[in-house]
Amino acid sequence: MSTKLPVIEARGAHISVGANVLLRDVNFTIYEGERVAIVGHNGAGKSSLLRAITGFSAVTQGSLCVLGTDMNGLRERSTLRNVRSRIAQVHQGLNLVGRLSAIDNVLIGGAARATSMLTWLRRWPTHERDAAQAALTRVGMAWAAARRTDSLSGGERQKVAIARALHQQAPVLLADEPTASLDADAADEIVELITALVAERKSTLLCVVHDLERVAQLADRVIVLRKGSLIADAPATRYSASELRGMLK
């Protein structure tokens, strides 16, 4: 049995919107430092699970505990903000603020630490600015610090999103299809970057993976979802990409 602390624990978790069940009776525990891939077709419940973990949707039955906080009926906004600040995210659609520069987007990662009113005007403490610049340098995007992110390519923006996650200095990284809509070279670069950073920081990684060939590259463990149900939870090396594909049919 692992001696590591549980980071995310789902016990009989259901998520439904009206009569539509998005996630049904899901049970798993993710421990600190684990690298977990979630796979499943569209509508399998992957994004719903990620949204529930970050408190953007509610678990309607069962329980979901994230970083020691029960997310069920979490009313206190400051507690929710605290949980969110400890989960960095790299989203499928990048989700950068297009009209802001790369450095301003990265600085948003430190919003929970620097809450002064000056940050409303994008005036950040010097140490935050230095750390954000260092994060951009780490992902090889220092040259684009002053560039608006809507002028960058898909791969470049994804690197800025990773720099923002890095700057958040969170123990958990959630990545939702981080290589979607990237060409093969850019996708390789992003996967290498994520795995290197997770190793450096000893972060827990929960990553929704659409490209099944990359599961073993990104994760040590794989959770397979189909039509809202968890159908497999095993070491990533147990199933080949074609076996995973077969399970999803």
Binding site: T54, F56, R81, N82, V83, R84, S85, R86, I87, A88, Q89, H91, G93, N95, L96, V97, G98, R99, L100, D104, I108, G109, G110, A111, A112, T115, M117, T119, W120, L121, R122, R164, Q168
Partner: protein
């Protein structure tokens, strides 16, 4: 398969067209019955005379006017000698001053409207989830401000703050804040929620979410809307003088009351030039913003 009753039932568009036709017919019928559709006596002669006089804009007299124009009474007695060139130069200077006043009314009115519209627009944007009573209050205020015309506000405000530009500025500001607030709320509602949620997901406070996620997305649109409303207000401010709220409208009213069609023609040319220039300027800036 459709039942016979379904296939013969008129569709919504047909019903709408019938409704519109009935409304047009009823309007024509009732106005004619009230003798309100008359074109007056000798409309063609009047039109020809007016157009004839307007075809000689008064500003031409600056160069071609009589420097010793004699003004006589009905009996032919010489009352005074006028220098038409000097008179028109003075009148043109007056138009210049009125244009400047009109521009200031439109600009200050729009600036004030932008300030009033900001909180109302934010509170009435559905996606920002203001408390329901506050939301409805803000939305109601915007609807009320937008539905009262600037000229009506002008009439009302002249009675409160007196004749002059202040009434004009306030009238423009009140009506435009309704329009700007609604446009701001719509801009916020149509904003892509994903970047905003990404800021929220970083553990940002609600104020940070607004300033770092929402505001950068809507600011260019808000400025663009402000310029558009300013453009509109320059046009609107030209008639505010008709109710004593300052600007070109006063000169328009004067020229029309005294049947000075040449001067009216000069005024209309000045208005067209002013509006066209500022429309082009505003459009050029707005194109660069979006």
């Amino acid at each position: 398969m459709n039942s016979p009753s379904q296939s013969t039932r008129p569709n919504a568009l047909t019903l709408l067209l019938i409704g519109c036709a009935l409304l047009v017919f009823a309007s024509l019928w009732t106005l004619a019955a009230e003798d309100e559709l008359s074109l007056g006596r000798k409309p063609w002669q009047n039109l020809q005379r007016t157009l004839g006089e307007m075809s000689e804009p008064s500003f031409m007299r600056v160069w071609f006017g009589d420097t010793k124009s004699e003004v006589r009474d009905g009996d032919g007695k010489l009352l005074r000698t006028d220098d038409q060139q000097a008179n028109e130069r003075q009148y043109l200077a007056g138009i210049g001053r009125a244009i400047w006043t009109t521009l200031r009314i439109a600009t200050l009115g729009t600036a004030l409207a932008a300030i009033i519209a900001l909180p109302l627009g934010l509170l009435s944007a559905r996606t920002l989830n203001a408390p329901r009573p506050v939301f409805w209050l803000a939305k109601g205020a915007l609807d009320a401000l937008r539905s009262i015309h600037t000229l009506v506000f002008g009439l009302f405000l002249v009675g409160i703050v007196g004749l002059g530009a202040t009434a004009g500025i306030l009238a423009v500001a009140l009506h435009s804040s309704g329009t700007l607030g609604k446009l701001l709320a719509e801009a916020i509602e149509s904003l892509d929620a994903n970047p905003v949620n990404a800021v929220r997901a970083a553990g940002a406070t609600p104020a940070q979410v607004f300033f770092l996620g929402v505001w950068p997305g809507v600011l260019p649109q808000y400025i663009s809307h402000m310029l558009y409303v300013w453009e509109f207000n320059i046009r609107d401010s030209t008639i505010l003088g008709l109710v004593g709220a300052g600007g070109l409208g006063l000169l328009l009213s004067e020229a029309m009351s005294l049947f000075q069609w040449g001067r009216l023609s000069t005024l209309l040319i000045a208005i067209v030039l002013m509006v066209t220039t500022f429309d082009a300027l505003s459009r050029a800036v707005r194109r660069r913003l979006v």
